[in-house]
């Protein structure tokens, strides 16, 4: 028997989750959960809708960075000019998820906690060093996005816990990010490979900081330190791009499926990473 509750505070939501007698599911945008309810893949006893909690939807600027409420739909991210300016890669990744209709509901927290290896927003968030604020019975903790997903469909949150917000830090000058994915058509598909790159350049255009993250080529998104090392110290010359390509390919541990073979995914991971890095460098140069 399914029960539904829409608490008005974070504390009440935590109590509901902690006290649930069976399986409890957090409802944010619902674009994955409702599909799973209908297919029978998810059989929760309790649904805790977090959207009536104040501050759970919306974007606030804080200390030059951003606090994004867990239930903020993708369409709202895309309409936030300041966020698009500071974190174009995060916004483009979030806006790639599904159709206009899906964008009206789907959230970053849902995309993360659904724990699909191919989730588009996750590589971009990790590349951006985004953190999430997790509320639970023991209060709140702030953890890196990469600590949440432990495997396909699996997350590290306790049964009493849920994500209340994401934090994106203030950007240094000459910093930018980018996300690219490959799908076999122009819209409405699931990534064969996704690549998120975030860089900071010095005044001469040499990279001083980089994060490179791949999606859909392993059980979880991969933060590839070797790929970042290939960028740092370079102005993205041909040699650096080749090292980046190799490092990205070496990191892949993909599966064969109907969307792509292992060989294809590995090859494309290198290409997508190069292209995303090129866009991120170009954007960074335009932000003196």
């Amino acid at each position: 028997m399914l029960a539904y509750t829409a608490p008005m505070t974070v504390e009440e939501a935590v109590r509901m989750l902690a006290g649930a007698s069976g399986v409890a599911k957090v409802l944010s945008g619902g674009t994955d959960l409702l599909v799973q309810l209908r297919s029978g893949r998810a059989k929760p006893d309790l649904i805790v809708d977090i959207k009536k909690i104040p501050d759970m939807s919306g974007i606030r600027e804080r200390d030059g960075g951003f606090v994004i409420g867990a239930a903020t739909p993708g369409a709202v991210l895309g309409e936030c000019e300041a966020l698009r300016q500071a974190w174009p890669g995060v916004v483009e990744a979030a806006n790639l998820i599904g159709s206009t209709q899906i964008q009206g509901r789907a959230t970053l927290a849902g995309n993360l906690c659904n724990a699909s290896p191919a989730a588009d927003s996750v590589p971009a968030l990790i590349a951006a060093r985004a953190t999430c604020v997790v509320a639970g019975a023991n209060g709140r903790r702030e953890v890196p996005v990469e600590s949440i997903v432990t495997g396909p469909g699996r997350i590290s949150l306790g049964r009493d816990e849920f994500i209340v917000a994401f934090h994106l830090a203030r950007r240094p000058p000459r910093s930018a990010d980018a996300y690219l994915r490959l799908i076999p058509r122009t819209e409405m598909d699931i990534a064969v490979v996704g690549a998120g790159v975030s860089v900071t350049l010095d005044p001469s255009g040499v990279c001083t900081d980089a994060r490179v993250v791949l999606g859909a080529v392993a059980p979880t998104a991969l933060l590839v330190a070797d790929a970042a090392a290939a960028l740092i110290g370079s102005a993205l010359d041909t040699m650096a791009l080749e090292r980046l390509d190799q490092a990205a390919r070496r990191a892949c541990k993909p599966i064969d499926d109907k969307r792509g073979t292992i060989e294809y995914r590995i090859k494309v991971a290198g290409v997508m990473t190069r292209r995303a890095a090129t866009i991120a460098f170009q954007r960074a140069k335009e932000r003196p």
């Binding site: 029960a3 619902g30 209908r38 369409a75 206009t100 209709q101």
Partner: protein
């Protein structure tokens, strides 16, 4: 199973219903409220035939629980015409023969109205991307896009015919 009492607004009118928590908004619109304009195509958010507006956002009503409608403003295809006067999009769909079986049409009309409400002068590319979540297996989309762009042009020109008395 306990039923939830939901107070909402549908096409500007207050509406109340009782529903079980697992029912989608689409289930309740069609089966309880007899608003059968919204169609059930895929029930997984892929086809857009159930598109409605919720607080001004285009969503799939199959991907929203009916209980979530509490306190929200819902707009469906039934709210588009004014009495016997069709919305310009509806009229242009007829003029351009932008439908064959018609199953996808209500969802596309709602989605296209959402587009024109925020972008009165979309390019063809913008219209095609905006409507990428609305599947049509009959028309090949071309006539749909022509109808949407023609309706946009008419709305911009303000050449809407006078309302019938």
């Amino acid at each position: 199973m306990s039923k939830h009492h939901v107070s909402t607004t549908i096409n500007g009118e207050p509406a109340e219903f009782l529903c079980e928590p697992q029912l989608s908004l689409l289930d309740v619109l069609r089966d309880a409220l007899n608003l059968t304009g919204s169609k059930e195509g895929c029930s997984s958010g892929d086809c857009g035939a159930c598109s409605v507006m919720v607080d001004g956002r285009l969503v799939c009503s199959c991907l929203m629980l009916a209980v979530e409608a509490d306190g929200r403003a819902i707009e469906t295809v039934e709210g588009m015409a004014r009495g016997h006067e069709l919305h310009p999009l509806q009229r242009k769909f007829l003029e351009h023969a932008a439908l064959q079986c018609g199953f996808c049409t209500p969802g596309i009309l709602v989605a296209a109205k959402a587009l024109l409400d925020r972008n009165p002068d979309p390019t063809e590319t913008e219209a095609r991307y905006w409507l990428a979540g609305n599947l049509c297996r009959c028309t090949g989309y071309d006539k749909i896009i022509r109808a949407v762009l023609d309706a946009a042009a008419e709305l911009r020109a303000g050449s809407r015919p006078q309302r019938a008395p």
